[in-house]
């Protein structure tokens, strides 16, 4: 093992120096050839197709690549701290309580070394306490509710995905810049943490950025996975508001778009979708043009044909060849979480000068800043456990040459522009008018 490390260290200058330092730091864990990691995403239910499976694929792709050491440099070291990852793909469907039970099974029955995943904010909020109870490293990859780290600091839970605050503020900034004329807005969001927070922070941000703007008195909060929105669409259409904000995801966004589209909804209203890009890909040419679309980060629709860097290009090509479609947001987000785990493991190994203990890995992960596919990620909030990164919005259109959906007027907002500084609650920061926002 140690030989292997030294060998790797030579290949990676960055790590080499650390190893020297690590000579004195003793206490390393029993070296392992394989580590078992639970990878949780929706494998069944309405969220499986648009989110769970792409996410799983993203993870699968990069895990295989890392195990083989095929990632472009500087990520081309083999395995996680030298160990090969044996992923246990688990279904996130079935309600929070069932998930908690499954989490316990993964940790206590399957003895996984860590968990990566979770898409629904509901799952994340439910898993965090169990993770803390069982003290098992858990990297959340997609979910977006800021409550996760604002309610309390977590010791073993990390999240590589920026939270709803950034997504919502970015959306508000984009709208006030590109459509200053549109003053009134309403929303349709799922009635749980993610939907509630998205709407809350979007309207808070709008108040600050455009005091003249006015929120509707009757925003809609249907139950997640309802599927039938005919009545909701009518309500929104009757509403005088010009803009409709939505954080719909999973199958709901597609269902909503299909039902709204026929009724010319998108011609009458300016629709802002925080995370609907999956629908753009699945509906393709059918998807309405002129929708303000977000991707919760520098990937997917908004950056597919630019952001050309080795890692990103490799990912897009490898994904396209292996699964026949372009990677969507969730694919990137899962891959990002896996990558983050690898970096943490390697760094910890280097510092410990041997196979790292969980504490060493956590220490390494804390506050890490790393280059992901589309851009850089800083673990800046929640005591270095919550990522911030740039978030962009664009306007949907259909690219005739490429015969693929794409976006115009793409604008990205830097992490510091849309996220509060460490230690400030998002709500307070917004109330104070976002002091120190670097845009």
């Amino acid at each position: 093992m140690r030989k292997q490390f030294a060998y790797k260290a030579l290949r990676s200058a960055a790590i080499a120096s650390a190893v020297a330092a690590a000579a004195m730091t003793g206490a390393t864990a029993q070296a392992k050839d394989t580590i078992k990691v639970g990878v949780v995403s929706f494998l069944t239910g309405p969220a499986a197709g648009p989110f769970g499976v792409p996410g799983k694929n993203g993870a699968e792709l990069i895990i295989d690549a890392i195990n083989k050491g095929e990632l472009p440099a500087p990520y081309n070291t083999k395995g996680f701290a030298g160990a090969t990852m044996d992923p246990v793909y688990t279904d996130e469907a079935g309600g929070n309580s069932k998930q908690v039970a499954e989490y316990r099974n993964l940790v206590e029955k399957q003895n996984v070394d860590a968990l990566i995943g979770y898409i629904s904010s509901g799952s994340c909020m439910a898993m965090a306490p169990v993770a803390e109870e069982l003290q098992k490293l858990t990297i959340m990859s997609v979910c977006g509710t800021p409550r996760l780290f604002e309610e309390k600091l977590r010791s073993v839970v990390f999240r590589t995905q920026g939270n709803a605050v950034g997504d919502s503020i970015a959306a508000a900034r984009y709208m006030t810049e590109k459509f200053p004329g549109l003053k009134t807005y309403t929303g349709i969001n799922q009635n749980y943490a993610w939907g509630q927070d998205s709407w809350k922070f979007y309207s808070l941000a709008m108040e600050k950025l455009d005091p003249a703007s006015k929120a509707s008195s009757n925003p809609q909060f249907p139950k997640i996975f309802s599927g039938q929105y005919s009545a909701e669409i009518s309500t929104l259409s009757l509403d005088k508001a010009e803009v409709v904000h939505s954080s719909f995801w999973d199958g709901d966004i597609e269902a909503f778009v299909l039902q709204a589209l026929v009724r010319g909804f998108f011609e009458d209203k300016k629709f802002v979708s925080v995370v609907g890009a999956s629908a753009v890909d699945s509906l393709g040419k059918k998807f309405p043009k002129g929708v303000v679309m977000g991707t919760r980060g520098p990937y997917g629709l908004l950056t597919r044909f630019d952001r050309s860097r080795p890692l990103n290009n490799w990912f897009v090509d490898a994904y396209k060849t292996r699964y026949g479609v372009y990677p969507t947001g969730p694919s990137y987000q899962y891959a990002k979480a896996v990558l983050y785990y690898k970096l943490g493991m390697d760094k910890a190994a280097a510092m410990a000068g041997g196979f790292p203990t969980q504490d060493q890995v956590i220490a390494a992960l804390k506050g890490m800043k790393f280059e992901s596919f589309g851009g850089s990620v800083k673990m800046a909030l929640g005591g270095g456990h919550q990522a911030i990164h740039e978030v962009g919005y664009g306007i949907t259109t259909w690219d005739k040459e490429k015969k693929a959906p794409s976006a115009t007027d793409v604008k990205f907002y830097s992490a510091e522009c849309i996220n509060p500084p460490e230690g400030t609650l998002a709500a307070d920061w917004l109330a104070q008018g976002m002091p120190g926002a670097k845009c």
Binding site: P46, A231, S234, T235
Partner: protein, 298 residues
Amino acid sequence: MQLLITILLDGLTYASYLFIVSVGLTIVFGVLKILNVAHGAFYAWGAYAAAYAITYAADMEYSDWIGFVCIFLAAALVGLVLGMIIERVILRHMYAQDEVLIALATFGIFLILEDVILLVFGVNPYFAYQPMALLGRVPMGGISRDVYSFTLMALACVVAFSCWWGLTKTKWGKLISVVIYDREISQAMGINVSMVYLIVFVIGAGLGALGGAYVAPTLSVAPGFGIDVIVLSFAVVVIGGMGSIPGALIGALMVGILRAVAVHKMPELELFVVFAVMATVLIIRPEGLFAPAKARTI
């Protein structure tokens, strides 16, 4: 006024959908005395079959009108195949059992069919929007509505009428009502009861599938969307009176309209109202607003 029209239309749309789904359930209960939880699975299967066929037709670049053919073919196929298998293989041997136990058995069937869907159609959602897109929209009550939902209402009327006609005006209908009235006697009269049961169950399954098939174009047909339908159609059927077709119609209308009102006025109550009404009706008139021909004494 505008609001009123909108609520009414939304309500009617939802009601027609509920009616088509529930009528099959109520017929099966009326004749076989089975509370069929698996009905939700027929609904899901219908939706999947239709969505699959429609998307296939679209890929083959046939005219979008084919979509409507697909819908009805899919419903008929699902009803015939699943209905036959389940009635012959499983329910057939249970008629003697306590009806709640049978309901539980159908719950088991439901669970199985749910997963078989995954195994057959995979987890990716299907989008079969062509038929809905084809019909476009009309302005009404100050907002534009999709024509498709009006055809849904029309379909509901057709279904309602043909059920009524079939049960009251045809020889078959008379046979069925005899069987409903007393199974033993009708057997003694030489009616092939088991055949009647089979046919009725197939029809019921087919109607459930039709419900799913016809709404398929308006949704992303994804795993696990048969679950909510079950309790909703239970509510409808119970409100109207288990086994009564006009009952199902009234029940669907009540639930549909009430839900529309809730969505527009008090979204929090959207789900609550449905079951509150169900409970109230059961308390005041256990046999439902429209008790079927032969009120069941317990």
